[in-house]
């Protein structure tokens, strides 16, 4: 009778039972919930910074990603006419009004990075149609002299162009035909794309990499707590154990991703196709959990799993981000191999051909199948679970020859 009951239980137990146990265990852990909400507070902080960052670079005349170095370099300026010094960018260079001898001493002694000398009669020279001869002294022992030199050169070019246009107009007052430059720009600027699209897509994928510890705990923890024996003695296959544990993590991740997407939408981020974005991120979590499970299944303890996970995640992040950057610069079809590319295109509202979706889904499916197959094969081996653990070469040989263990 007991045997029959046992047989019945054996038939009934599925991977969903494992999923339910693991998921409940995760949600019941107070510390996990604290970390979960701390992660969300990090997201809030990121949103604030992100918005300030975008506003800052959009307000710049030339959009670029450079630090806002208040008073990074300093420059003495002697410009009685005041014609020139007003063009110096005060965000980077602190302008110190000075006289010739003091200013030159300051620059020679390294107190300021440079000294700009503008002749006192510059305004009259301009009015008389004469060339203004400016001199910039640079303290070349200071690396910031490049910044001062660059700033003064671009300032001289702006002033030159402005006066040239004025002088040309006054030299030919009867010429009423004003020149016109019709300037148009196509596409969003690269720095803005990197900030708006790449940063947002990284933010959306971040939860996938934050839950590696749960997988490690779920798999390696069984070995360290010596509960692996009980687990494999249960009426459930090794494959179902792995799938059940992975499903629980996928559920936790989907909960976090859903919350992040909702928060980002509420914060005013333009995320087109939010449902598809969510689905593709969750689909991406499957191969990532698979790879993490392989690392966890092979590792003896938390420490080893930590090393393996660090290396694996560096590679995964690289493989996800590089195609995104390639897509931004080249719009290549192959860059859709990374699900990050398709998610970025989805939330940007691009029209995506079915072939591009197919490539992404194919890459997700291939990596998932391979990683889960390896994880299950590893988990089925007693020597992996209870030792002595075989070497990597031996394992690879057994896997490629489909050796039954």
């Amino acid at each position: 009778m007991a045997y029959i009951k046992f047989r019945c239980t054996r038939v009934k137990m599925k991977f969903t039972t494992i999923t339910k146990w693991e998921f409940k265990g995760t949600l019941k852990s107070k510390k996990f919930m604290t970390i979960f909400f701390l992660q969300i507070s990090v997201l809030f902080l990121m949103i604030i910074i992100f918005n300030s960052f975008v506003t800052n670079i959009e307000s710049e005349s030339g959009i670029s990603i450079t630090p806002s170095l208040n008073g990074f370099a300093s420059m003495d300026v002697q410009d009685q006419s005041g014609l020139i010094s007003k063009y110096v960018n005060p965000d980077i260079i602190t302008v110190i009004p000075s006289n010739y001898s003091n200013a030159l001493n300051n620059t020679v002694n390294g107190k300021t990075t440079g000294f700009l000398y503008v002749p006192g009669n510059a305004d009259r020279e301009i009015q008389n149609g004469q060339t203004i001869n400016m001199v910039v002294y640079l303290d070349t022992s200071d690396p910031k002299s490049s910044v001062v030199s660059g700033e003064v050169n671009s300032m001289a070019k702006i002033i030159s162009q402005s006066y040239s246009s004025t002088l040309a107009a006054s030299a030919n007052p009867q010429n009423t035909t004003s020149p016109s430059i019709n300037q148009q720009s196509t596409g969003e600027s690269l720095p803005l794309q990197i900030i708006k699209k790449v940063m947002l897509v990284i933010l959306l994928f971040l939860p996938l990499l934050l839950f590696g510890n749960i997988i490690i705990d779920s798999v390696v923890g069984e070995k360290e707590r010596k509960t692996g024996e009980i687990l494999i003695a249960m009426p459930i296959s090794h494959a179902q154990i792995i799938i059940g544990k992975s499903m629980a993590v996928a559920l936790t991740i989907s909960l976090q991703v859903a919350m992040w997407v909702i928060i980002l939408l509420l914060a005013g981020f333009h995320i087109f196709n939010p449902l598809l974005v969510f689905i593709f991120i969750i689909l991406t979590s499957i191969p990532i959990i698979g790879i993490t499970t392989v690392v966890a299944a092979y590792s003896k303890n938390y420490k080893e799993a930590g090393i393996g996970l660090s290396i694996a995640y560096i590679v995964i992040v690289g493989l996800l981000i590089i195609p995104v950057l390639v897509y931004i610069s080249r719009k290549s079809f192959l860059s859709n191999i990374s699900p990050m590319t398709i998610v970025m295109r989805l939330f940007s509202g691009e029209t995506i051909p079915l072939g591009d979706y197919a490539l992404t889904l194919l890459s997700i499916a291939i990596v998932s199948i391979i990683s889960y197959w390896i994880a299950i094969k590893l988990f089925e081996r007693d020597d992996i679970l209870f030792g002595p653990r075989p070497g990597v070469l031996r394992l690879v040989f057994d896997l490629i020859t489909f050796k039954k263990y």
């Binding site: 960052f53 630090p67 060339t131 022992s141 490049s146 040239s164 019709n182 196509t186």
Partner: protein, 379 residues
Amino acid sequence: MKLTALTKKEGQDILKNRIYILVVFVQVFILLGTFGIALASSIASDPVLLDQYGATSVLKVGVSDNIRGTELETDLVDQKLQLIYYNNISDAQKFLGTTLVSVVDVNPPGSLNVSVNTDSSNVFYPVVSTKVNNAVNEYQLQKKLESTGLNATQIQMILNPVNLQVINLNQNHQANLALNSSYFVEIMYGFIVPFILLLPFFLASNIVTDSVVGERERKTFEVLLMTPISSSMVMLGKILPILCFSLIQSVVWIGLLDLLKVPIYNPVLIFILLFFMGLGFIGIGVLLSMFVDSTKEANSAITIILVFATFILFMPLFIKTSYFTPILNYIPTVIMVKMASTPKINPIIILSALPTILISLMIFVFTIRYFRHERAIRL
């Protein structure tokens, strides 16, 4: 003597840990990678450097066949742009964003009406845009001046009303820079240098939590605290090797940056600042260790704290907001930027490091006192 033994043991533990050694090597890759990116992006965004390195074949501009032999063509060629000719300008427009970075057209031919269409998503957009604008402005000025009857000298004066002479001082002690570019100096000193020098202290927070929580997990903390050594000394024995490990890394990174021709000035002052910041980072790590039960929890919590620390330390470097300005000069990363890039440092900058030193010391002292009170074990 006992303190020395504990310090030695902790030091050996750090050096034997493969994760820590791996992270040290990862930092080398980060340093070399960020340096390479800064170098490449500086060249790609600077017209003068791009001309200097002869990489102008990528600056492709589509033009109509009818500009052949005109002043506009000469001006565009003078800017070292690679012109690709099309019978019809609409053909050129089709390649904008793929082969071409910009399309320039004059309609009707020979007139002053120039239309410029540029792909701003291209990596070389800033350079091409600057060069095309220079060429078009020059063309339009020349065309206007042609009809005025002015002589060549007068035209030249109008075209170049400002003459800038550059005089280099202190050339005997010239900064040995990898690239003489404004952007390179700004991005290297303004972000990458403080980022690289602080990386070891992010690692230090992790090591200290591992060390304290690890003792509790292995149930060896009781034994350690029962030894005839004060709890402050126990803490010092754990902290000293971690602090030294981080400071040594930072010193090595300073040397490596010097080798890469990014000279770091005032290394002693930076070292002192890093020492106190290290105490702050380690103090936070110890404090956190007293509230968690396992290494796993400690790692998750310290990651989140370090994310906050990154924002506090690095975001002020990129945000221009008026409400940040009064405190900007007291943020340690900003002080580090000024120290690292200035050969002769202003004493006021040194004084502005005092709040950082005081806050770090307060965190550290509070941690030690709390540790003595709680003894961090909560058996």
